[in-house]
């Protein structure tokens, strides 16, 4: 028997908002979270800007014990724990102090690389012959599953607790993995999400690949320009997003608020064949992922009201739009399409979950957030879809169905379909 799966809790640590109300306000007003980072300038980065959630020491101490805070130097864990704990509380769930865990609740919380600043600390100590000075905190803050392990301990989850990793697809994939587990009746609720560290050691590799914009260091908020004629590369970001997925029966039983339903989705890979490579998508795979998600959700293309694209602000944006147009087989009645990355930059392994949280808020509250920095839509995109389908101003409008896509290095894809509940 297939269970229906709904979203009952949200949490966020985004460059433009570290609580759900603040994030929603930023979405509506099109507020950028991109700032100049003097450290990147000192290190001779070409791109000296980035998206980084602002977390005060006081806020950290609301989520971590004094002992956990000792030697804590893993920004991904900080973002992930804050968003995950917030989502849990937002769902009206208690943090149990009992000796026995909650066997029906699990966690799938992904990341790309975790605790790079902590790892750097360790490398310096090891190279100085002082390995014993690492103490006990090095392993738990740098193992990829550190984030699900921290959350698992804080929340006391006794179902599957794990970390997935699929580059920029990670967050959306985590959501679909949690969805599958509940749908199959193996868990009642799953906290799903993803996080990404900030800083030069995460972003440097992308700077070296020359896929980040180097010409907006004086004007950071204008730098991330998805779908625009002036798109010149993605702005690196960081943070975390978290969602509580729950068996509909359980949600109804405990009278939980329901943000939206997860209808289904698809994950696949282009196998790095054809135009696919380590860093580029195979277009047929992208189209199959989109159509697969529609079929698995039992909806047709014309049912989709809004697309939240991957759309990173590189020259590939128009290729993504072309894939949507072909997969949906819609042109003039193409859905609205937006990209959060104009405001947050590309939050890498956190992007999928942060953007899923944004998508779910759009459905729950009935609005389409604006595409910022897209005054002039790229001509290749205008050749594919009507200009008004790329909203530059916020639109208040009930949304029934939203499709969210994430694509990642390694030629991996994920598409999830959300539906308004009730």
């Amino acid at each position: 028997m297939n269970k229906r799966v709904v979203i009952t809790g949200l949490g966020i640590c985004a460059p433009n908002g570290v609580s759900i109300p603040e994030f929603e306000e930023s979405l509506r007003s099109g507020k950028s979270g991109i700032t100049f980072h003097p450290q990147l300038k000192d290190l001779n980065f070409s791109c000296q800007i980035g998206g980084k959630p602002e977390i005060s020491e006081a806020k950290k101490s609301e989520y971590f014990t004094p002992l956990q805070l000792r030697g804590l130097n893993s920004s991904g864990i900080v973002y992930g724990v804050i968003s995950g704990t917030d989502a849990w509380k937002d769902a009206g769930l208690e943090i149990s102090e009992k000796d026995s865990p909650d066997w029906d609740s699990g966690i799938i919380f992904g990341t790309g690389i975790l605790g790079v600043d902590k790892f750097r600390e360790a490398i310096h100590l090891i190279d100085a012959g002082k390995t014993r000075r690492l103490g006990s905190t090095s392993v738990i803050q740098t193992m990829a599953s550190g984030i699900s392990a921290y959350l698992g301990g804080i929340l006391g989850c006794g179902n599957q607790v794990t970390t997935n990793s699929s580059a920029c697809t990670t967050g959306t994939e985590a959501l679909l993995m949690g969805y599958e587990r509940i749908k199959a009746g193996k868990a009642t609720r799953m906290l799903v999400g993803s996080c990404s560290d900030h800083g030069p050691y995460v972003w440097g590799g992308f700077d070296a690949m020359r896929i980040l914009p180097g010409n907006y260091n004086e004007d950071p908020e204008s730098a991330s320009r998805p779908m625009s004629a002036g798109a010149s590369g993605f702005v690196p970001g960081s943070g975390a997003g978290a969602l509580v997925l729950e068996d509909l029966e359980s949600a109804l039983e405990r009278g939980a608020k329901i943000y939206a339903e997860v209808l289904g989705g698809e994950v696949n890979s282009g196998g790095q064949r054809g135009e696919g490579s380590m860093t580029a998508a195979n277009n047929e795979a992208v189209q199959r992922c989109i159509t697969g998600a529609l079929i698995n959700s039992n909806i047709s293309a014309s049912d989709v009201d809004v697309i939240n694209g991957h759309l990173t602000a590189t020259s590939k944006d128009s290729v993504e739009i072309e894939n949507w147009v072909k997969a949906l087989d819609l042109k003039n009645d193409f859905p609205y399409i937006n990209s959060l990355k104009g405001m947050t930059g590309h939050c890498l392994s956190a992007s999928g979950s942060i953007e899923c949280v944004a998508s779910v808020l759009e459905i729950a509250k009935g609005f389409v957030f604006p595409n910022i920095n897209c005054e002039a839509v790229h001509p290749e995109i205008l050749a594919l879809i009507p200009e008004e389908r790329v909203p530059r101003k916020m639109i208040e409008k009930p949304i029934s169905i939203l499709a969210k896509a994430s694509f990642g290095f390694g030629d991996v894809n994920a598409v999830v379909i959300f539906k308004k509940y009730g």
Binding site: P66, R132, R133, G135, S136
Partner: protein, 83 residues
Amino acid sequence: MTEKVILEKIKNIVTPYVQRKEGLENFDEKTDFLTDLKINSANLVDVILDVEDEFNIEIDNTSMEGMLTAGDAKRIILIKMEN
């Protein structure tokens, strides 16, 4: 440094790691780090590092293994400080 002062310093060092706070009320030489204070065994290496910093000594692995109670810690600290 008197033995009493050393014991007091040990108490301050272990306090952040203690999961059973009642165990600190009767803190003395017999206090066992794992059973009385419920310090997570993984954190014992952090306690050792903090002791090393506080007393400017180095505690080798063999000495560490014998450090189960506050009294053990005090004795090992006194020996290392003499060397």
